[in-house]
Amino acid sequence: MNDRGGRLLNRYFLYLVLLNMFVNVIIFVPKILIEYRYEGAVMGVVIAVPIGMALTYLYSTAMNQFPEQGLPEIVEQGKHRKLTILFFGTIQFMWFTAGLITLIGFIDILSRFVNPEMPKLGLLGIYLAGIFLIIQLPTQRIMYFLEIVLLINIPLISLIIFKAFINEYLSWDSILEVGTHIFTRPSLKAVAAATYCFSGYMNLIIFNRLIRGKLKIWNFTAILFLGLFNLFTTFLIPIGFHGSDGAQEYLYPWISTSDSLRLVYSPIERAIFLFLMFYMSITLVSVSVHWHVAYELIKGMFKGKISKKKNGLILGYFTVLAVLGVIYFNSLLLNRLTVYWMIFRLGVEIVIVAGFVLWARRRTT
């Protein structure tokens, strides 16, 4: 049981990382990378891989010392109650904004490509209904849900990526042309955006509750290869379709790329609809995972079980900010803001990982 459990649950760790890799398309990672393609994005990606892997490795092995415990359970016995509350109150905002940017970004995409005449608040409404249903589930159940969503969707996304790679209109020369700019000094923005692909490990702060066995080396190897492949696809496939000079003109490079794929024998000829349907569910589960972490961190600020009223207040806080976000951020502003958010996030991640690793070492020795 132990061995089987270990192997089984390490799969969960992979899912969390994979989820972030998928969702980077919504959160403007390709857009940022393509924008800086001549100004250091290639080198940025190359640098981001070791940074992302190092952070993943350090953080998850440190977390691994507390099997089946999330951060709220780990610090529960701690003495500095007030400090904990302050800490949780601050960092939950990182997860909340991560989910929020994804949500606003995707609602913008939906209102552009799928429901152009529907008010964005309507789309937000149905998304919030789904998200609130999911984030209140126990952590274990959210993982089940994530697993099912990935299981349903991975064939779909593999088909689309496969179709993109074998497309005769994919210009490898354009991809190589961008590759020739590898020796340009890396830009911080590109590094920050590229590391987002790896930052799914941060969700372990809560989801460590499910990680029973030791994380094995193949987990990290898999993440390394998936990350490389993901960054390559995210960054360079749109360039192969829309050109090294032209790709940056698109607001959502990947959505436009999926619109460039024609499925000759499928009943749905335009791959963009398969792609959007895939992202409808991926966005739902990704925002849910991020907000579940935020939700659990806020819950960790209170002692014991929280009352129905407090639960309502937390959800109300999520709702109000989401509604404001959808009203005030158009996609251009959101895009610009996300660039700075990415840099900020990278900084916070490094601080959290460094702090946690040091703290965990002191506690265990």
Partner: protein, 366 residues
Amino acid sequence: MRLTSKWKLSFNIFLTFMLLSGCGFKDIDKRFFVVSIGVDLAKNSSKKYLVSLKFAVPKTTRESPAEYQIVSEEANSISEAVRIIKTKVDKEIDFSHTKVILLGEELVKRRGNAGVNYWFVRRRDVQSIAWIAVGKPSALAVLKVKPTSEYFPSNALFLALGKDGSETPYVISEFMYDFKFRAIERGIDPVLPIIKAKKDFLEINTVGLFNKSKMLLELQPEETKMLNFFLNREEKSSLWGKKGQTNMIVNTEKVKSKYKIYTPKGKRPYIQFDVSVDGVLEETTKRIANKQLSKYEKVIGKQFSKEALRVLRKIQKAGLDPVGFGLRYRSRHFNDNDWKEWQRIYPTIDFKVHTKVQISDTGLIE
């Protein structure tokens, strides 16, 4: 009491949903699908363009013939034209099934139509995988042609350009996104097929070559076939060769072309083309013994190389680059001014073509 308030809340939420949503609900029979768009220059008018939309009229039974309606309008921009056309039709205009965009011959020969090209890309409901082509003598004339085999409007165009139907090397079809890619990317130029309107059929066997803003050169059918081989788009084709008194025709099954740009120090730079052709002997005027086959292969290869060289030089002379030599050069050089270098090199570059023909079969007889 508690229960009623809970119900009230849910009811209110439901009501809000009803108010917020439901917009955009428009039944499929209230939409008028545009299957193809034609843009021409306006004649005898102060306006700039003549925009024609070809609408498909849905068939109510399976037996009824394919019907369509073409509405044209002169305006200074496409969006203006569409707005005026909206007032002329009874249903909502829906561009989501627009699969062919035709640009009039006159229009593409004039400089500076970026606004037209970009309108299609910017609109979310026009597919990126719509085909784009040049209409000759005008886009409207092509739209008006109704081949008898058509069972819904513009289907003949879809089949010809989509290669679901006939597969021929004389058609180089082009998607809108790829056209835009070529129109922007430095080092590769757009190519559009030219569709000629005949009485009740359409003829597609030539292409027009563009620089970044207008059509400069029109290739002949045989040259189009050559360009197709350079682009590696279509492999099923036929080659023709002559040795002494014997004419022969080879049906190709596989045509692969590769090229490499050489810039030796102090010498003239050249592009080495390697083409390999795999085919079946289809027709000869005389019996050819299997032993002599290799001789004939060489003859066809030589003839092919000669023809290829002529087409490449013709394109080079026009200063165009549909194959993407410039892009290849850029992608193999790490310096930042590679594009400037290439612009200097290209007009003087030399071509070398080597063709390897292999006839794998002579059909059922020798």
